[in-house]
């Protein structure tokens, strides 16, 4: 476990920084928004991300990926956060890839992991059934039907749901355990409603009415499917925390630059102690967030049994800090921070949405208490 990046990681970060700065700057998000893009991300960008090796960062080399682990995935996500890149990366390359790695059968791995690495298919991970994250509240049912299953239930705010080719759906089986099922969103009985959120992403709500699934739709490779489900979610949390952290860092950098450039009363407003102290406090919070994010990701890679506490803590902290950094950013920008022309408002909106996904800071704090035994 190391906080300092090794050579592979430095290369990954540098190439991600260059790539997203070039191919997916904030103006790309503005364009998706202004064009009312039907899926909320660019499939061309996704194909380029696959060429860069990003999509298969968690896919084993046997299956066409680069297998660099969660720490590297986090570095990619931090850069995406900095540039407000909209893509199905967490849904597909983190959650789905982790699902196949941890719960897929050999046949499922062979079929799906190469598609993830090659950017050939978009996978979405359908968990929540209510507006607030609650991974234990699963009423969607998969009941045995011959060799297959019948799936009924509802899912809300499925990230990348609008553009997805395949869904991975959390549903309760007859033993009341949560299991994961592969579902074709175009299958009979599946209805999709796209949602548009403040960050210009397009998640989707799904209704499943007696959807017929084959027997091999069940991810049947895990000894303990519920444990795998939790591990997948925790991996998603640590990675989402990395993106949120990137959002926070860029919002802070942008704000600091603004402070240094803006004059009032005939002097740079960066000389004002009231603003200096807010900025310095924020810097400390960002350092805390960064350490937890890195610690959670490296723990997932090296000591997965220890990871839940770190993942929850990282998600809670990165959520809180990214919201703080962006709201302070608006405050310190003053009036122009409220305008659409300046980017800080876009960061504020993404911080809010990213924070909600897989549990906000309140959810995370409750889980940290539970995992700590109080």
């Amino acid at each position: 476990m190391s906080f300092v990046l090794n050579e592979d990681e430095q290369m990954m970060r540098d190439s991600a920084r260059g790539f997203f700065g070039e191919s997916a700057p904030v103006s790309a998000l503005r364009k998706l928004r202004d064009d009312n893009d039907p899926i909320g991300f660019s499939k061309d960008l996704w194909a380029s991300m696959a060429e860069m090796g990003f999509c298969g960062v968690l896919v084993p080399e046997d299956h066409g990926g680069v297998d660099l682990g969660y720490a590297a995935a986090g570095l990619i996500l931090e850069e995406m956060g900095r540039h407000l890149t909209s893509s199905p990366f967490i849904a597909t390359s983190v959650l789905a890839a982790s699902a196949f790695n941890l719960a897929g059968t050999d046949a499922q791995k062979v079929e799906h992991l190469p598609k993830i690495a090659a950017g050939e298919a978009i996978y979405a991970f359908a968990i929540d059934e209510r507006a607030r994250h609650n991974p234990g509240h699963i009423e969607t049912r998969a009941t045995k039907d011959g060799n297959g299953f019948r799936l009924s239930g509802k899912k809300r705010f499925v990230a990348a749901g609008t553009g997805a080719d395949t869904l991975i759906v959390a549903a309760r089986t007859e033993d009341d355990k949560i299991n994961l099922f592969l579902v074709d969103p175009k299958a009979a009985g599946v209805s999709l409603q796209s949602r548009r959120t403040i960050d210009s992403h397009m998640p989707a709500d799904f209704t499943f009415e007696d959807v017929k699934l084959d027997g091999d739709a069940l991810l049947a490779g895990a000894d303990d499917p519920e444990k795998a489900y939790e591990q997948i979610l925790n991996a998603g949390r640590a990675c989402q925390a990395a993106e949120s952290h990137g959002v926070a860092v860029q919002a802070f950098d942008t704000t600091l630059e603004y402070l240094k450039g803006r004059e009032q009363f005939g002097v740079s407003i960066a000389t004002f102690q009231g603003l200096q102290h807010r900025a310095a406090h924020l810097y400390g919070e960002l350092e805390l967030s960064q350490s937890l994010v890195r610690r959670a990701l490296t723990t997932l890679d090296t000591q997965p049994s220890q990871a839940p506490l770190w993942c929850m803590a990282a998600k809670a902290k990165a959520t809180q800090v990214s919201r703080l950094a962006t709201s302070e950013g608006i405050q310190m920008h003053g009036g122009v921070g409220m305008t659409d022309e300046y980017d800080i408002g876009l960061y504020y909106k993404r911080a809010q949405a990213a924070g909600e996904f897989l549990g906000d800071d309140h959810f995370g704090a409750g889980e940290v208490a539970r995992l700590s035994g109080y």
């Binding site: 190391s2 906080f3 300092v4 600091l256 402070l259 240094k260 002097v267 740079s268 960066a270 000389t271 004002f272 102690q273 200096q276 102290h277 900025a279 310095a280 406090h281 810097y283 400390g284 350092e287 805390l288 967030s289 960064q290 350490s291 937890l292 890195r294 610690r295 506490l309 770190w310 803590a313 809670a316 902290k317 309140h362 995370g364 704090a365 409750g366 940290v368 208490a369 539970r370 700590s372 035994g373 109080y374």
Partner: protein, 392 residues
């Protein structure tokens, strides 16, 4: 020697040499060994433990053996620390000489100064205190006015220091003294080592809100200091003081990060938990969880900053960030301890009341964000030196 071998030998030596009573948690201040000429050991074991550790040089594991240290590498020192922690061993010696003066002497002292002053620190024979703040120079430390006039080989020192920790129990003081009256204020200060066993030095304890008196006023009235006991050049004192303050900050931080009572055990003490261990008050539970998260984040940040320092990025002004965060967290922890204990936390000294340790720790923690540079000063430093924000 490989680290594994070192660990094995260290473990065996500690097993053999650390007295059983020195492996029990510290119960009161008397259990902390500060050493010094007038030190009275709380027990024979405390004495033996200090002597054995000093003999190995392990009171200051990374100092060179020539100066009474253990000559250990950073990695070996870390192993020693882990092994001490594993058996719950008490620190053999706490000392401002170790935490503050030592690092300054190692960096700025002459060979003779190191040979004279470091070994007695390592053995706990001389107890040091720090003379920085003055009644008119707190946050604006550089405005200090205690004056030293050089005549031949001796400085004559006049003035007053305040907030000198344990000055009444110390043997020597390292003090900032204005010796160059005509120099610009940053260049007029020298770093002097002054023997307190002389008529010109007197101390007076200051009673605090905790009921204790860890701090004193220290008065210099024609006190004498030999020029050979000036560390660095005349006028170099401010540079040395800044270097040393970063060590003090690290010390306050490690104290802040150090366990002690936490709100969950406090709630258990007060019986405010459910059968499944959940804290009864849901809002308190939420606050405690935030503290846990920030505590994990702080520990991880300490490790990260250390690792990055080892990779040559240096700690620098980030010490101020750590000091700010660590001390604010420690204050929060103490506040939550008090909340979790409810009225039990209010008990003060008295026959049936215990010794008011929780309240004392809570009261003491208020000083964390004042001493060694206030939180506001730390934020100033971060803004200017880390974030490169301009001065007014």
């Amino acid at each position: 020697m490989s680290l594994e071998t070192f660990r094995k030998e260290t473990r065996a030596w500690l097993e053999e040499n650390c007295p059983a009573s020195m492996r029990k948690p510290i119960k009161s201040e008397a259990d902390i060994c500060w050493g010094g000429k007038t030190w009275t050991f709380a027990s024979e074991d405390q004495k033996v433990w200090l002597e054995r550790m000093a003999e190995k040089g392990w009171t200051v594991p990374t100092w060179p053996t020539e100066y009474g240290g253990g000559g250990l590498s950073k990695e070996e020192a870390f192993v020693l620390k882990e092994e001490l922690k594993a058996i719950g061993a008490r620190s053999p010696l706490d000392s401002f000489g170790i935490w503050m003066l030592g690092p300054a002497l190692l960096k700025y002292g002459t060979y003779e100064q190191k040979l004279e002053h470091l070994p007695p620190i390592a053995r706990g024979e001389i107890r040091w205190c720090q003379g920085y703040s003055e009644p008119g120079a707190g946050s604006d430390l550089v405005s200090l006015r205690t004056k030293g006039v050089l005549d031949g080989d001796t400085y004559t020192v006049n003035g007053q220091k305040v907030w000198t920790s344990y000055a009444d129990k110390s043997d020597w003081i390292f003090a900032l003294v204005r010796t160059e009256a005509d120099a610009p204020k940053y260049n007029g200060i020298s770093f002097l080592l002054i023997d307190m066993d002389q008529p010109g030095v007197s101390t007076k304890p200051i009673k605090l809100i905790s009921g204790k008196s860890p701090f004193c006023e220290t008065f210099f009235d024609d006190a004498k200091a030999l020029v050979k006991n000036r560390v660095g050049e005349a006028g170099q004192g401010w540079e040395i003081a800044k270097y040393l303050l970063s060590h003090e900050r690290a010390g306050i931080v490690s104290e802040a990060a150090f366990g002690g009572l936490n709100p969950v055990s406090a709630a258990h003490k007060a019986g405010e938990v459910e059968d499944d261990g959940r804290l009864s008050d849901p809002l308190l539970r939420g606050e405690v969880a935030k503290l846990t998260i920030d505590g994990l984040a702080f520990d991880a940040t300490m490790r990260r900053v250390k690792e990055e320092a080892d990779h040559g990025e240096g700690v620098g002004a980030r010490a101020s960030m750590l000091k700010y965060i660590g001390t604010e967290l420690n204050k929060k922890r103490n506040e939550l301890n008090m909340s979790a204990l409810g009225s039990d936390g209010l008990l003060w000294e008295g026959e049936n009341e215990g010794d008011g340790d929780v309240a004392r720790s809570w009261l003491r923690s208020r000083a964390n964000s004042i001493e060694g540079g206030t939180s506001e000063i730390q934020l100033n430093i971060v803004a200017k030196r880390v974030l490169d924000m301009p001065s007014a």
